[in-house]
């Protein structure tokens, strides 16, 4: 019991320290970014990127942890955008006051996530993906055809009288705050009972139900949380872009992008979607602003999607962690050539359970020891 835990604690210690310092350095770098880069083009890309960091993280909270791939999250993004757009127009809000509509955008997106989830989560896996795509197109069609969304003319955002030189900064910091909070929430959920239930659903939904997990409630909760955050980001995006149009607020590329970001970085991990969004969104925005051919970035996006699925199906972070882990294991194994000769046969490695449990001693490990444990045992004596 305790040996296993303490051993784990010992190796986790420095790794956790590295992780914490890494997060702090990244946060500090992102916080001072707009002070360093004042070029409007660069900060525009940065705002976009931060919005997608939040969106990919939010997508991952549902799809990454539960294994249900949603290709309909643009429903929440567009709903958030149109909520802010319509409210600002109809209530004639101007200036900074519009930002107070962001919670409303989240609330409306969450309210839509409930029936959306109840409908789509009746089916499993692949069918679920198809249903989310269908619901997405229904929403895009509605945005085109309802009068209160102003159809294809769209809705223009109220003008902000901010200094042109620092115009992007409030957007950047707000997007950064939302992205950071979402990532923190994602981390919190992953280690929580709720997150464990989600990951159990991902691995074997029926088995989870048979162990007391309320699978429908767990899935729907994650879907709503994810939708709420995406809605808030949609509202922010609308104000930043300055216009809500059906084809951009409800954009199929959004659906694919957030999924691709999570897949590239590592679906179901906390850092994966963040990394994926930082790479993909910044690269894509950079290409669209510098290259004249409009479609190049989309072609590259598609090629990247293929490359990720073929070469890195689990994503950058899990693959890198694995490589690093085996490298560390090899390095650790090397100096441990001298295990004091005490154990006649090094099968158990460092701690070969001194006194087996009282009751069940002799047959207590019928299939236990035969070294799936790892490198130290067999490699030592070729």
């Amino acid at each position: 019991m305790t040996p296993a835990l303490s051993r784990r604690g010992a190796t986790v210690g420095p790794a956790a320290a590295w992780r914490v310092s890494g997060v702090l350095v990244a946060a500090a770098a992102l916080a001072v970014f707009p002070l360093w880069f004042t070029n409007g083009l660069v900060t525009t890309i940065a705002v976009d990127t931060m919005i997608f960091v939040g969106a990919a993280s939010a997508w991952n909270i549902f799809s990454g942890y539960s294994g249900y791939i949603s290709l309909g999250h643009a429903v929440f993004f567009g709903t958030g955008a149109y909520t802010v757009a319509i409210a600002a127009r109809d209530w004639q809000l101007t200036g900074d006051a519009v930002f107070w509509l962001l919670p409303l955008a989240g609330a409306v997106a969450a309210a839509i996530a409930v029936p959306f989830g109840l409908l789509a989560l009746r089916v499993r896996r692949h069918t679920f993906v198809v249903v989310t795509i269908a619901v997405f197109f229904i929403f895009q069609l509605m945005a085109y055809n309802f009068s209160f969304t102003a159809g294809s003319t769209g809705i223009i955002a109220p003008v902000l009288n901010w200094q042109p030189a620092t115009y992007n900064n409030p957007f950047y910091y707000l997007a950064l705050a939302i992205a950071a909070a979402t990532t923190a929430l994602s981390w919190l959920i992953r280690g929580s009972r709720f997150g464990l239930q989600l990951r159990a659903v991902r691995d074997d939904e029926d088995r989870a139900a048979g162990l007391g997990v309320r699978t429908r409630r767990v899935k729907l909760s994650a879907f709503v949380i994810s939708g709420l955050i995406t809605g808030v980001l949609g509202g922010l995006w609308f104000y930043f872009i300055g216009e809500a149009l059906p084809q951009f607020a409800f954009d199929p590329l959004f659906d694919i992008s957030v999924a691709l970001m999570a897949f590239l970085g590592g679906i179901g991990t906390v850092a994966g979607p963040v990394l994926g969004a930082l790479i993909i969104e910044s690269a894509q925005q950079y290409l669209t602003t510098t290259v004249t051919n409009d479609y190049l970035s989309e072609i590259l996006l598609g090629a990247l999607f293929l490359a990720v699925i073929l070469l890195l199906p689990r994503g950058v972070i899990p693959t890198a962690a694995e490589k690093l882990g085996s490298w560390q294991a090899r390095r650790r194994a090397a100096p441990r050539e001298v295990p004091a000769g005490a154990q006649p046969d090094g099968a158990g490695g460092t701690e070969a359970s001194p006194a087996p449990a009282p009751g069940s001693a002799p047959e207590s490990a019928p299939s236990g020891p035969p070294a799936p444990a790892g490198p130290p045992g067999p490699e030592r004596r070729p």
Binding site: M1, A4, L5, R7, R8, L188, I189, G191, S192, R193, F194, G195, L196, Q197, R199, A200, R202, D203, D204, D206, R207, A208, A209, G210, L211, G212, V213, R214, T215, S221, S353, A357, G359, S360, E363, S364, A365, P366, S367, G368, P369, P370, P372, A373
Partner: protein, 255 residues
């Protein structure tokens, strides 16, 4: 005496196939009851119906006298029936400890209300570790579950079913595909649990195992129970020999 578990006149059809045709199985409290029968006789379907994975067409299921007919799986588990699957089902991408903690979820009232609490408090982890020790795979607690061997997976599945202290445990072929020493190990664990008060209903094809372990045996054929009784009686029952045993013993000799 109320049966710990009673499936009464259960009927369930899949299209034209009557998988269960009025089957009645009673499991006495504190017993180890065996459920045997040829392939396709409805054993696993009966398990699925009892544990809520499939709805029954007619009939009833009682747990300690309380009707649980068609209750969903999560509720059946919460009420005190744990089960394992014929093809072992664990959570491959969770660690062994996390597998254990999934089943811990609804124990402990206060913590259970905060879904964002860290998974597994000290007490839950200690209990999980005790159970892993009990089945003998405690060394693998931190390993990802898909690194376990088939036999170890069976033990893990047994261990996490025990987390919630179920009154009745349903085992679907606990010895299927595992080596003889592990079969003895599993048998010893079942006996130990039974001595501590857990009731068992076991589907099994291994006749030595069933005859040696069970107090009572029910024989299922074409969805109905054709015989019940202690092993000695079942072994001698001509209907059972006819339906089942003859064939199996030939198989055993051959294999």
């Amino acid at each position: 005496m109320t049966a710990a578990l009673l499936a009464e006149q259960v009927r369930r059809a899949f299209g034209g196939v009557q998988a269960l045709d009025g089957a009645t199985v009673a499991v006495a409290p504190g017993s180890i009851t065996g459920l045997i029968g040829p392939n396709g006789s409805g054993k696993t379907t009966l398990f699925n119906v009892i544990t809520g994975y499939e709805r029954l067409d007619s009939g009833h299921v009682y747990l300690d006298g309380r009707k649980i007919t068609n209750a969903p799986p999560q509720r059946v588990f919460a009420l005190g029936i744990g089960r394992t699957f014929q093809l072992t089902r664990i959570f491959p991408r969770l660690t062994v400890m996390e597998n254990m903690l999934v089943a811990t979820q609804h124990r402990g009232g206060r913590r259970a209300r905060n879904p964002l609490a860290r998974a597994g408090g000290a007490a839950d982890r200690r209990r999980a570790m005790d159970l892993l020790e009990f089945v003998g795979i405690e060394d693998h607690a931190a390993a990802q579950a898909d690194t376990l061997s088939y036999g170890q997976r069976k033990l893990l599945e047994l261990a996490y079913v025990l987390v919630a202290d179920p009154a009745v445990v349903l085992l679907d072929e606990p010895t299927g595909g595992v080596n003889p020493s592990l079969i003895h190990h599993i048998e010893a664990r079942i006996r130990a649990l039974n001595a501590a008060g857990t009731t068992f209903l076991i589907v099994e094809h291994n006749m030595d195992f069933v005859m040696g372990l069970c107090d009572q045996i029910a024989v299922l054929d074409y969805g109905t129970v054709v015989a019940t009784g202690p092993p000695a009686v079942i072994r001698a029952d001509p209907r059972v020999l006819d339906a089942y045993l003859g064939i199996t013993e030939d198989d055993d000799d051959g294999g």
